[in-house]
């Protein structure tokens, strides 16, 4: 999906303390970022997105001028924030359960089937599919957000989609535990 062409300008205006630009930037990107973050960990998703937007306010203007894809850049910040929080939680709480990101999103009734299928994918494939269909990033933007080669992102996406299609085409009872 195409972003509005002036979101880089919004980013700079937000950094300068423009409330209206901050609202617009938030409205433009926060829903996608929050949806993505919830597939990693619903409990800390809002904190991570909030933290990412606050990060905008602390970065040097010259760094923000170099941002090519605002949503990809914000996604990278959210992701790092989420992974950092998860590492911290693991240390402090010694979580024993393996993290299954999309399970938390499955609490929403209408997402149950999709979320459940996504949890069955390898993490790397699942993340790219979520970024493509939830955060609406292109492969180029995904590669920037995840710091992987665009071809790698595309390959993982295709692999994940192949698995999903197999699950989707199977009778309901076979992929519901």
């Amino acid at each position: 999906m195409q972003r509005q062409p002036d979101d880089r300008r919004l980013l700079l205006a937000c950094r300068r303390g423009n409330d209206a630009a901050a609202r617009d930037l938030y409205a433009l990107h926060a829903p996608s970022l929050l949806s993505y973050a919830r597939t990693i960990d619903a409990a800390s998703a809002e904190d991570a997105v909030q933290s990412a937007f606050c990060t905008v306010l602390t970065r040097p203007v010259r760094e923000l001028r170099g941002v090519r894809h605002v949503r990809a850049w914000l996604t990278q910040i959210v992701r790092n924030e989420m992974l950092g929080q998860l590492r911290s939680h693991r240390r402090s709480r010694a979580r024993e359960r393996r993290h299954l990101p999309v399970q938390s999103a499955a609490t929403h009734e209408f997402t149950h089937d999709v979320a459940e299928m996504l949890t069955m994918l390898p993490r790397r494939e699942r993340e790219i599919i979520v970024l493509k269909h939830v955060a609406e990033l292109t492969f180029e933007q995904i590669s920037l957000a995840l710091d992987v080669n665009p071809n790698t992102a595309s390959s993982r996406y295709r692999s994940g989609m192949r698995r999903l299609r197999e699950m989707h085409e199977q009778p309901r009872t076979t992929h519901h535990v």
């Binding site: 300068r16 409330d19 901050a22 829903p31 937007f53 306010l57 269909h133 939830v134």
Partner: protein, 121 residues
């Protein structure tokens, strides 16, 4: 070409985003705080630059009484900004220009601007 699985994912993504679509007063509040901080930074940096400029150009500038008052008022602010001393001058150059696009060098205009800046608490 979009198949059933892709459409299912697109629908799911749309619903996820719709659920997540809300504004955050907290974030806008953070922006307001930054804006306030910028004013402080600009004013304090002006004081520092004024001091630097005064030290360098004292013979030619001959600071007036008002500039001395300004320096006296701003002294506590300089202490406060000691924390970020390594980036102080960089920040100050940027903050003098409202658009932040073409930072102005420290010059007579900067000094005049500093004189008109209200003293900070």
């Amino acid at each position: 070409m979009s198949d059933n699985t892709e459409r299912m994912l697109d629908d799911w993504g749309t619903k996820q985003r719709t659920q997540a679509a809300h504004t955050s007063d907290a974030f806008v509040g953070a922006v307001a705080r930054v804006r306030g901080r910028r004013r402080i930074t600009a004013s304090a940096a002006a004081a520092v630059l004024l001091a630097v400029a005064a030290a360098v150009f004292v013979p030619s500038l001959q600071p007036s009484r008002s500039s001395e008052d300004f320096l006296a008022d701003a002294r506590p602010i300089e202490v406060r900004l000691d924390i970020c001393r390594p980036t102080l001058l960089t920040l100050s150059r940027a903050t003098f220009d409202d658009s932040w696009e073409e930072p102005e060098p420290c010059d007579a205009w900067t000094l005049a601007w500093a004189h008109t800046t209200p003293a900070l608490p």
